[in-house]
Amino acid sequence: MGAWAQGEPPPDLSPEVFAIARELRCPVCQGESTAESNAGVAVEMRRIIAEMLAEGRTREEILAFFVERYGEWVLYEPPRRGITLWVWVLPFLGMGLLGLALLGYFRPKKALPPEVLEEAERRLREQET
């Protein structure tokens, strides 16, 4: 990252740059990704991504570069391990529980025991006569 010209216009960025930038959180405007934001930091991060791609670095290496500086917080997709694994597991757990609850609710009711049915039929006949 040594030499760079100050104040030069941003280079024309390829869609590849934005694909990677979409996976990164903009540090200033935390609800936006680095691809969407026009904050100074986000613009500079896109420029860094473009430079690293030009150097032939891979997507993983570029993401690791930002994680190294900002921590895993900067990734839009929380890693599938450690405490953030729960973010991935909980929806499935919730769906499973909901499924079980629905199954219990709509389960066919148990048929009435034969002696109760016979009794009911007998009373019906008695009323008719």
Binding site: Q6, V41, E44, R47
Partner: protein, 178 residues
Amino acid sequence: MRGWLWVLLVLGLGGLFLWGMQRDPRELPSVLAQERRPAPDFTLPLLPPYRGEWGETLRLADHLGQRPILLNFWASWCFPACYEEAPVLEEAWRRYRDRVLFLGVNVQDREADALRFVGQFGLTFPSVFDPRGRVGVDYGMYGVPETFVIDGEGRVMVRHAGAIDRFTLERYLQEVLR
């Protein structure tokens, strides 16, 4: 029995939400300070008023490891936080200048605006000019103002987000000089 299970579930979720709402969104982790990593080096041009004393450009590595450094990221458009802390920094710099190096990094700013800011507060500690803010990315900076305390060995000790007040600054300086 099943009623109690529901009560527990609701209480648990409620507690989680309550805890989540009371977290300070500005308290973001700093990888540098948590692991006490060596401060990333940079070479940047100084703002014109400081060139006489400090030269055309400043290389951080030339000053790392000699004495503690207080690195302050600021911008003239950062109102009111940067305007609140500028006099505090200047006052502390006058008292500590022989023991701690205060260094400003002016980010994403126009030079004319930055000079106006420097003149307005009579800032005598040197500031470098980084209009694109690349050094901020190396430090994992979120937004201005942000202050990094670098110890005598050149390692990042503290990251302070937002305007710094007199007492907090004094505490950091005492800590880094211990």
